[in-house]
């Protein structure tokens, strides 16, 4: 073994200096910026804006479901357009874009100690292509026939037929084009996130010293790069079916007494392609949330994350396994039923690493010094909703239990809890946590707590009872819940209750938006490291960090990201770039 050089004598010169493109004008600084931090803010703002549209759509849906027949303008046609756009926007244009494009862009370079992403120009293009995808998507609201109403899964044949809103109009074409654009844009960004983690790490930043946030986003991006092509292929082929009359997915069809020109295609093929993307997509959203929540808990409980190595291995295991479980979305799709045995097994195996992560979060709290800050509250709420949603996932993954429950409100409740509410609670927690770094000011505490309580309790009250509607057999994607023999009067009341909660929760998000904007000017000054955190983004010379992140010299990393409450150290945290060793031997007895 080589001699250990005294830590402070390590020359930083070995760190390759990046050629940064320095902006010259207002336009290149704030609009066509190549600075990952600006791109991150652009991504986040766009994602939140389009997310707001999706939130409004969910209100409209809940109006119809909670008070059927009261609102004339919500025709079945419109209802299906609302659910489709709501689902697609939330999953792809909000969650994926915000976690990877937003948090990924902001946090990866700062956390690994890089000046910027490795390909800043491509990174900038990525945002603009994403924006274009969003605009194409939005334009479908104004196209003749309106947006597509095929459901976010876009299953053919109905997605491109007249019985579905937008099927023979512009809706589906614009949707598919928008998705194709999104995938192209994402691939540009994704290359950056992956290669920056591979090549941009500063001296001393080994993989095992990376904060779990970076691990989560990195693994999710690798998965996204490999999963999105499946959606791309499915979209291109469906576009050809729709526009040029090919028969990739379209079998012989008699539509309303009329024979269509297609022949022999396989709708199941689409479902395989879609879910080969769709299932990893769940983890593409979940893994960044896992990573971020680990850091939130650790920082605000002033304790290292429990079982860091296990957490990293679990992320990798989940990432790998998530590519062999896709058909659990297709148990009752009519595919070969014997696949059910295999996919049920793989699906339930994935529960093990996921459960390990939950245990380790909770065990991090054990003997911690828990500060009940707003990010911490959101992290706790995340654990509750994620455990709840994860456990109902065991119902749906267990092939035979899925038979009565699939395509019912149980599924809706499950996936909203696990990949809607849970990751969004993390997003909120993360925004309260990193907002001081982005703007230099804290978000308002009172408004924040108000926002937290309404969002958490309201969301739980929306989705927990919904499981029982599904158990009762109430199918999802019903624009009309009238004439349903299985639905008792009280079930209709429950629906109205859920709708009212949905409006309240939605309203709380307006408070949050107000807080976001108001605090830019009026928030309390935060200082460089208000949470007394160890990771590199809190150690920048300026807050908000300037172009190039770390001033003249890049930081050198001397320790892992979780040196909280180290015995022998004076403070209860040691930043990653502080040299020296503290305390006695650190191997726990």
């Amino acid at each position: 073994m080589v001699d250990v050089t005294p830590a402070d004598a390590v020359p930083p010169a070995e760190v390759a200096e990046m050629e940064l493109y320095h902006p010259h004008s207002w336009w290149t600084k704030y609009v066509f910026s190549q600075d990952a931090k600006v791109i991150a803010v652009q991504y986040s703002a766009t994602a939140m804006a389009i997310g707001l549209v999706a939130l409004m759509l969910s209100w409209l849906m809940r109006l119809q479901l909670g008070f059927p027949g009261t609102f004339d303008f919500i025709t079945p046609e419109a209802y299906y357009q609302f659910i489709t756009m709501h689902g697609m926007i939330m999953v792809i244009y909000l969650l994926t874009a915000l976690f990877l494009g937003g948090f990924g862009n902001y946090l990866i370079p700062l956390m690994v100690g890089a000046r910027d992403m490795v390909f800043p120009y491509v990174n900038m293009l990525s945002y603009w292509v994403y924006l274009l995808a969003v605009l194409v998507l939005v334009s479908s609201f104004f196209a003749p026939g309106g947006p597509t109403g095929a459901g976010w899964t876009l299953y053919p044949p109905q997605a491109i037929m007249t019985g579905t809103p937008g099927g023979q109009d512009w809706g589906i074409i614009l949707m598919l084009s928008s998705l194709i654009l999104f995938i192209i844009g994402f691939t540009m960004g994704g290359l950056n996130y992956v290669v920056t983690v591979l090549q941009g790490r500063t001296r001393g930043m080994t993989l095992m010293r990376l904060p779990l946030t970076v691990w989560g986003i990195f693994t999710a991006t690798v998965m996204a790069l490999l999963a999105f092509p499946a959606l791309f292929v499915a979209c291109v082929m469906m576009l050809l079916d729709r526009l040029l009359g090919t028969s990739f997915f379209m079998p012989a069809i008699v539509e309303m007494g009329e024979q269509l020109q297609h022949n022999g295609g396989s709708p199941i093929l689409f479902q395989h392609l879609f879910w080969f993307f769709g299932h990893p997509e769940v983890y593409i959203v979940a893994l960044p949330a896992f990573g971020i929540v680990s850091d939130l808990i650790s920082t605000h409980a002033r304790k290292n994350i429990f079982g860091y190595r296990m957490m990293v291995w679990a992320i990798i295991a989940i990432g790998a396994l998530s590519f062999v479980v896709w058909a659990h979305h297709m148990y009752v799709s009519g595919m070969n039923p014997y696949f059910g045995f295999f996919f049920a097994t793989t699906t339930l195996i994935i529960a093990v690493p996921t459960a390990i992560k939950v245990y380790n979060w909770v065990l991090t709290l054990w003997r911690g010094d828990i500060h009940l800050t707003i990010p911490m509250l959101f992290a706790l709420a995340f654990i509750v909703t994620f455990v709840n949603g994860g456990l109902t996932g065991l119902f749906l993954g267990n092939v035979v239990v899925d038979v009565p429950l699939s395509d019912t409100m149980f599924v809706v409740a499950h996936f909203h809890m696990v990949m809607g509410v849970a990751p969004i609670l993390v997003i909120f927690g993360a925004i309260y946590h990193w907002y001081p770094k982005v703007t230099g000011r804290m978000l308002d505490e009172t408004l924040g707590r108000f926002h937290f309580w309404i969002t958490f309790l309201g969301a739980y009250l929306i989705f927990f009872p919904m499981h029982y509607l599904g158990l009762m057999g109430v199918p999802r994607r019903y624009a009309e819940l009238t004439d349903m023999n299985i639905m008792t009067e009280s079930a209709h009341h429950l629906n109205s209750f859920i709708s009212i909660m949905a409006f309240i929760v939605g309203f709380a998000q307006m408070v949050f938006l107000f807080n976001l904007i108001w605090s830019i000017r009026h928030g309390r000054e935060a200082g460089g490291n208000p949470w007394r955190a160890t990771t590199l983004e809190w150690q920048t010379p300026e807050t908000p960090p300037a172009h190039g992140n770390f001033g003249k010299e890049l930081p050198i990393v001397y320790r892992w990201a979780y040196d909280y409450s180290v015995p022998g150290a004076k403070e209860d945290f040691i930043p990653q770039n502080v040299p020296g060793s503290f305390g006695p031997s650190r191997e726990p007895a």
Partner: protein, 234 residues
């Protein structure tokens, strides 16, 4: 979905190999206070751009594996009528291979610093790639004239779709090649030129490889090969 699963296994193999070199079993909390020699500066010595291109090629590979997977799944259905591949495709294959060889020559020349040879290699590669694209278009025309239209059979649809996707990727490569050539004529720094020529060559070889694979699939050899393997196994 077997093709894409095999591809994923290959990717997983690479990822596993790389991760196994990253000391994932280390206990990071014990390695405090050191930055240099013990836990060094462990990025790869390859240029970042090459790694970026490598990751991108993995994505492209994934895309074509998925098309191939879909091809095999659709092929199993009853209405599949394979179309005769135009002879011209053989010529096109040769031209594309020539393009790759030319770029490889350019790489060798760039390493030696012979700028004239680099220019010659780049120009040849660009022209042959254009010739390949033109050849593909002619092949399309021959097929449509013989009545093998896009929508008349799924085999035809896949043929046009996959060749078009491959062609688009070549077209994208030509943009990169154009920029490299502009650099070669305007006298960019030597290392920079060398890197960008190497990147082009990497991309070209990969697309040649992809083309050989899809040629084998479209010609039906891949299916025959798979069925022979299956017979050997059973």
């Amino acid at each position: 979905m077997s093709v894409i699963l095999v591809f994923m296994l290959v990717i997983a193999g690479f990822a596993g190999w790389w991760l196994s070199h990253q000391r994932l079993t280390a206990k990071p909390w014990l390695e405090q206070g050191v930055a240099g020699d013990v836990v060094g500066f462990d990025r790869s010595s390859l240029p970042t751009a090459k790694i970026g291109l490598g990751v991108f090629l993995a994505v492209v590979g994934c895309l074509f594996s998925l098309f191939t997977s879909a091809y095999f799944m659709r092929m199993g259905l009853s209405d599949w009528r394979p179309l005769p591949l135009p002879r011209l495709l053989w010529l096109n294959t040769g031209v594309l291979a020539l393009s790759s060889v030319a770029l490889q020559c350019a790489v060798v020349a760039a390493r030696r610093g012979q700028v004239d040879m680099v220019r010659l290699g780049l120009a040849t590669a660009g022209l042959t790639a254009l010739a390949f694209l033109a050849g593909q278009l002619i092949a399309w025309r021959q097929l449509t004239e013989d009545g093998y239209l896009l929508a008349s059979n799924p085999a035809n649809s896949f043929f046009y779709l996959i060749t078009a996707m491959h062609g688009l990727h070549i077209l994208g490569g030509l943009v990169g090649l154009g920029r490299t050539s502009a650099g070669a004529w305007n006298g960019t720094r030597r290392e920079r030129l060398r890197l960008s020529v190497e990147l082009c060559a990497m991309y070209w070889h990969f697309l040649l490889f992809v083309w050989l694979c899809i040629f084998a699939v479209l010609a039906g050899w891949a299916a025959t090969f798979v069925s022979i393997c299956q017979r050997l196994l059973t």
